[in-house]
């Protein structure tokens, strides 16, 4: 074969696609802008729906990075040109890489919660994001509010930066509902005497075992679910928070005090994903994620020949979906490089 594949982004999708393409005999170069592979998985302590450690999945992915894959860390593409089906990519290190196919796995970033100013992130100390809470969990320290007390009541606010035209994100981020349930359970395991409330618009427990986790949260941990979207949070003198929602199932406005408020931040295309869209002239959809050639049949194919997509650069995904998407991309690249005419088949 002797063909080269360049994979941009060393997160879950990039690592898994590297493993498969290398195993299939291609010369793979994996470029990662940080000094460590793993992407967002480095920051998630436990994973839904099984509560297994993120590290376990990471070490599985690392097993696929064999000696034949060339990993370049602390580097990112700064220029790209195409000549005779060859992609010539210049890295920030000055190195020039020539590849027969390019796979974009630059992923997502979490929504900047301070853009929802009425929720008080960055203004009130006891408003945190789901990513912040995950860090509090993995730090192993005692859970305390900014005033140094053990929180007695914690609220999880769903759909922060998702399903919200006011911030320009009309899509569902898919993972936040079940993450809120997961984190509420973890919180109750650490603080059994605290009350936990989830404020949701719809609970999207679509995945296998998600609904079981939701039921476990209610049955075993007493997590309460209130259907209503937070309108605003205000700070009390003691730095606790007063929140206002409509309890839409009773049809009445509701207010309550919270010691800690957790904002379930959604997905946005990462800065790297946006940059790759510019460098490779890739089309983006209305959601700003990279556009798939066909939503059903060509999900790994971009709008540019020889450039492929995997993972959360094209849509919000779970870890499971990202891994299977990376493998699918590897198969798609193989069919492209071996000029297998699977794309041209008749209906």
């Amino acid at each position: 074969m002797g063909k080269d594949v360049l994979i941009i982004g060393g997160g879950i999708a990039g690592m898994e696609a590297s493993a498969y393409l290398s195993a299939m005999g291609y010369q793979v170069t994996l470029v990662e802008k940080a000094n460590e592979l793993g992407g967002h998985l480095l920051r998630w302590e436990r994973l839904f729906p099984t509560q297994r450690h993120g590290k376990e999945v990471l070490s599985f992915l690392h097993c696929g990075i064999d000696g034949k894959i060339r990993v370049i860390k602390n580097a990112e593409p700064v220029a790209a040109v195409t000549r005779d089906d060859l992609h010539i990519v210049t890295l920030s290190t000055g190195e020039v890489i020539t590849a027969n196919a390019v796979l974009i796995t630059t992923g997502y970033k979490t929504f900047d919660a301070s853009r929802k100013e009425e929720y008080g992130y960055g203004i009130y100390n006891n408003v945190v994001t789901s990513a912040d809470l995950e860090e509090m969990f993995s730090s192993g320290k005692e859970m305390l509010t900014s005033s140094g007390i053990v929180p007695r009541r914690v609220g999880f606010i769903h759909c922060v930066g998702s399903r919200d035209e006011k911030v320009g994100n009309i899509y569902c981020s898919k993972v936040c509902c079940v993450t809120a349930v997961k984190q509420a359970i973890e919180l109750k395991e650490r603080l059994p005497y605290a009350e936990a409330f989830c404020f949701y618009m719809d609970l999207r427990m679509y995945g296998m075992h998600f609904e079981e986790l939701y039921k476990e949260a209610q049955e075993k941990h007493g997590v309460q679910f209130i259907r209503g979207r937070l309108s605003e949070a205000a700070e009390n003198q003691d730095h606790s928070l007063l929140i206002k929602v409509e309890d839409t199932l009773t049809g009445r406005p509701l207010k309550m005090k919270m010691d800690l408020l957790v904002l379930m931040v959604g997905f946005e295309p990462s800065d790297g994903t946006q940059k790759m869209a510019e460098l490779f002239h890739l089309e983006t959809g209305s959601t700003r994620f990279l556009k798939m050639a066909d939503e059903h049949t060509s999900t790994n194919v971009s709008s540019v020949q020889g450039v492929f997509l995997a993972g959360t650069c094209s849509a919000p995904r779970t870890i499971t979906s990202t891994i299977t998407d990376a493998r699918a991309a590897a198969a798609k690249i193989t069919s492209y490089l071996s000029q297998y005419s699977i794309e041209q088949r008749e209906n």
Binding site: D247, R252, K255
Partner: protein, 114 residues
């Protein structure tokens, strides 16, 4: 002395003030019938309820108001229940709805005693 008419009246606040409400009520009912926590407010119970066709009985709403500590108007609701158990046949989460009603009735009686 008759009340003076100042040309305006004051409405009671419709807001649920969770911190001031009787929150313990729900936890006491839950101690008797833990399956109350499994309710997902689907309304299957209310749709099938014979009493609900003629009265204000609405089990979905009763459970919800109990969870919010809004217990003042629960009595009229649950007293209309016939304990026929149709709601229990339909509940997708397996809530022991009859026992929820019985437990709420008992709690309300306990509360009414001075």
């Amino acid at each position: 002395m008759s009340a003076k008419n100042f040309g305006f009246s004051i409405h009671k606040d419709r807001q649920i003030d969770y911190d001031k409400n009787y929150r313990e009520f729900y936890y006491r009912v839950k101690a008797v019938e833990p399956s109350i926590s499994l309710c997902i407010s689907c309304g299957n119970c209310t749709a099938t309820c014979s009493a609900g066709n003629f009265t204000s009985m609405n089990l979905r709403n009763v459970i919800l108001l109990a969870a919010r500590g809004e217990v003042n108007n629960l009595g009229d609701n649950v007293s209309a229940c016939l304990l026929c158990g149709k709601c229990q046949l339909g509940c997708p989460r397996g809530v022991n709805t009859r026992n929820v009603v019985i437990a709420i009735r008992k709690e309300l009686k306990i509360r009414r005693k001075p």
